[in-house]
């Protein structure tokens, strides 16, 4: 029964929470695009519009002391893992109040207290560290799981191969979540991946793998819960491939010259994970407006918070190099 409850029917209430979180990510990312256009945000920014169901589905399946490593496309994961939008936005503005105190930026979001061990601007760079974190959990007999997010493009880098091999060999409690959006920057799948089904990559390690529709948060949540249980139970790591869509450019400002003109519009129509979820929920217009208003307020608040934040002193740059 518990089994069914956990894996199968996600309660309407929980789904509403997912909805709210996904919408928060969406509105947050839209705000990032807007503030970037306004010239307020430094750095290289990659938003997760279209991929919200993966971030939320996976992170909501985590327990509080599980840890994650994220990627250059990190805002969604970071919010879903519990960092307050204020702290995230403040980081994007380079403020002391930011989740990385202004040292990291969009591609280096950390929130160690909440189990975010860092977004990584080097593709695949965070995967071995997740194996190590999971190894520490195993050493200490802690029922914790370490989770790595990464894109389809990252499955081509040697780090991916070595990390998954090691994880399986040592049967550490790790889950590898591939956000398979069919692109690595401008490079489409067929130019970088000689296979269609990325979950097959797990066979090289005898690793348990699962491939799910990443636009369906319920499906992601269920699969992630199962993967986490497997890993937490000592049965070894899991590769979870979530097929998803990048409903935006690679980076904020990307003219996407490489992308078929109509693809984006069509996908926005058919593959929006928030629309999909909303279609399944019994949301009244009032509900929708209420959630929307709440979320927008939070996002607006985060911009205010960030702008009112403190710029580091130049000399602060000398701190935090060594412990």
């Amino acid at each position: 029964m518990a089994q069914v409850e956990r894996k199968g029917a996600v309660s309407e209430e929980l789904l509403r929470e997912f909805y709210r979180e996904m919408l928060l990510i969406r509105r947050f990312e839209e705000k990032v695009e807007e503030r970037f256009r306004a010239g307020e945000l430094p750095g290289f920014l990659h938003v997760a519009i279209g991929q919200e169901a993966v971030a939320v589905g996976v992170c909501r399946a985590l327990q509080d002391d599980d840890v994650i490593a994220s990627t250059h496309r990190a805002h969604g994961h970071t919010l879903a893992k519990g960092t307050h939008p204020n702290e995230l936005m403040a980081e994007l503005y380079g403020k002391v109040e930011g989740c990385s105190k202004g040292y990291g930026g969009s591609m280096h979001l950390y929130d160690v207290e909440r189990g975010n061990l860092g977004a990584n601007a080097v593709v695949g760079g965070g995967l071995p560290g997740i194996v190590g974190a999971a190894l520490a959990f195993k050493f200490r007999d802690e029922p914790r799981v370490a989770v790595a997010f990464f894109g389809d493009g990252a499955t081509n880098i040697g780090t991916f191969h070595e990390a998954l091999n090691l994880a399986q060999l040592w049967l550490v409690p790790a889950v590898f979540v591939c956000e398979n959006n069919g692109w690595a920057e401008s490079t489409p799948a067929h130019q970088q991946l000689p296979i269609d089904d990325l979950s097959k990559r797990a066979e090289a390690y005898g690793m348990k793998a699962r491939r799910v529709g990443g636009q369906d948060v319920e499906e992601v949540f269920a699969a992630a819960s199962e993967a986490l249980e497997h890993a937490r139970g000592g049965d070894g790591p899991v590769l979870l491939v979530c097929d998803t869509f990048r409903l935006t450019g690679h980076y904020v400002g990307d003219p996407q010259v490489y992308r078929p003109r109509d693809e984006l519009a069509r996908l926005r129509e058919t593959e929006d994970p928030i629309e999909k979820l909303s279609a399944r929920l019994d949301l009244t217009d009032e509900d929708v407006q209420e959630i929307e208003a709440e979320v927008v307020e939070i996002v607006e608040g985060s911009v205010e918070f960030a702008k009112a934040g403190t710029d580091p002193q130049p000399e602060d740059a000398l701190k935090n190099v060594y412990a």
Binding site: P42, G43, H108, N120, G158, T187, Q192, D316
Partner: protein, 336 residues
């Protein structure tokens, strides 16, 4: 004389080489439809097609290695490593393979490979997209190392790198892509190993590379207003190094500043300082000053980033420091 941006100058060298020579091709991440993350190869897919403008998966080791293999078959591949921070992934192939095949084979092989990469701080990319790592490669026998600072230089040097029979690490600086310069109608190859004197002067020699060449030129202008005449030398090729031009300059000016964006500690400036103090010992009227980034990873917040990397005022301060010492103090006691 057409005006080219640094970006266009790189593209022009690549394109001209590819037009005249089937053995030249380029490979790298997102260099095709997108034209590279810095737009350097924009339009080249249309002209040369996807075989010769080859998009790759995210596999820095393999794409550098594939370049090595093709080079050993007599081709002249140009690999683009998107950020020099990612050369960290290809160090094995660059250092143990490309640099050593010729030697280990007793001269049977050549590796005419060019690895283009770019980096540097500016616009807050953060600690993993802003390093300046050229010094590492200067420590590796078998490699050549180029760091070009102007459109004409980058064009002529890239050409020579492509046609050099050795593996060349070719560094570009991200903030320089937009700068423009009149360049000769015909591409003029610039031999590797020749420094460029950007500005002659009598009182201090500033040896600068990459972005700092421009900061040094600016600082020289300001110093002139203070009555100090500065010679600015850009080695352009860091390995092999045109030691003669640098040393002769210092023998004339008796003072030397070395400036680059990389962190000072163990940076290229250390090598220049070690050479200059050795070869021009008796000519030096002041310690050689080094200008570089502070010894920290590049921080994100713009105020910190800006403060960490050197600018013309830092070069100027170093110039002042060297001329601030009276000549007679040399050898006669310690002046702090």
């Amino acid at each position: 004389m057409p005006e080219l941006s640094y970006r266009e100058a790189v593209r022009d060298a690549l394109s001209q080489a590819m037009r005249q020579d089937d053995d030249v091709f380029i490979l790298g991440e997102d260099i095709a439809e997108m034209g590279g993350s810095m737009g350097v190869t924009q339009g080249m897919l249309d002209e040369f097609g996807p075989e010769r403008v080859r998009n790759t998966p995210i596999s820095e080791m393999a794409i550098v290695g594939a370049g090595i293999g093709a080079a050993m078959q007599g081709m002249r591949p140009v690999v683009e490593v998107m950020y020099e921070d990612f050369t960290t992934l290809a160090m094995e192939q660059i250092v143990n393979q490309a640099a050593k095949h010729r030697y280990m084979s007793g001269g049977q092989l050549k590796v005419p490979l060019t690895i283009r990469t770019q980096g540097g701080a500016g616009w807050s990319p953060g600690a993993q997209h802003a390093q300046q790592l050229e010094a590492w490669f200067v420590h590796v026998p078998g490699l050549k190392v180029v760091f070009a600072s102007t459109p004409s230089d980058v064009r002529g040097l890239l050409w020579s790198s492509i046609y050099d029979d050795n593996p060349v690490m070719f560094f570009e600086h991200r903030t320089l892509y937009g700068i423009k310069e009149d360049v000769p109608e015909e591409l003029e190859p610039i031999p590797l190993g020749q420094a460029r004197i950007h500005r002659e002067g009598e009182d201090v020699t500033v040896v600068a590379t990459g972005r700092l060449v421009h900061e040094a030129i600016a600082a020289a202008g300001e110093a002139e207003a203070e009555g100090v005449s500065v010679e600015v030398v850009d080695p352009r090729t860091l390995l092999p190094l045109d030691e003669a031009t640098i040393v002769d300059s210092v023998k004339k000016t008796n003072r030397c500043v070395v400036a680059h964006e990389a962190v000072t500690r163990m940076g290229f400036g250390a090598e220049v300082a070690a050479i200059v103090q050795h070869q021009a010992f008796d000519y030096l009227d002041a310690p050689i000053e080094r200008v570089g980034s502070r010894f920290v990873p590049i921080p994100f917040a713009p105020v910190m980033e800006e403060w960490v990397v050197p600018h013309s005022n830092d070069v100027l301060a170093a110039i002042r420091q060297t001329v601030g010492r009276s000549e007679s103090s040399n050898g006669a006691g310690h002046v702090e």
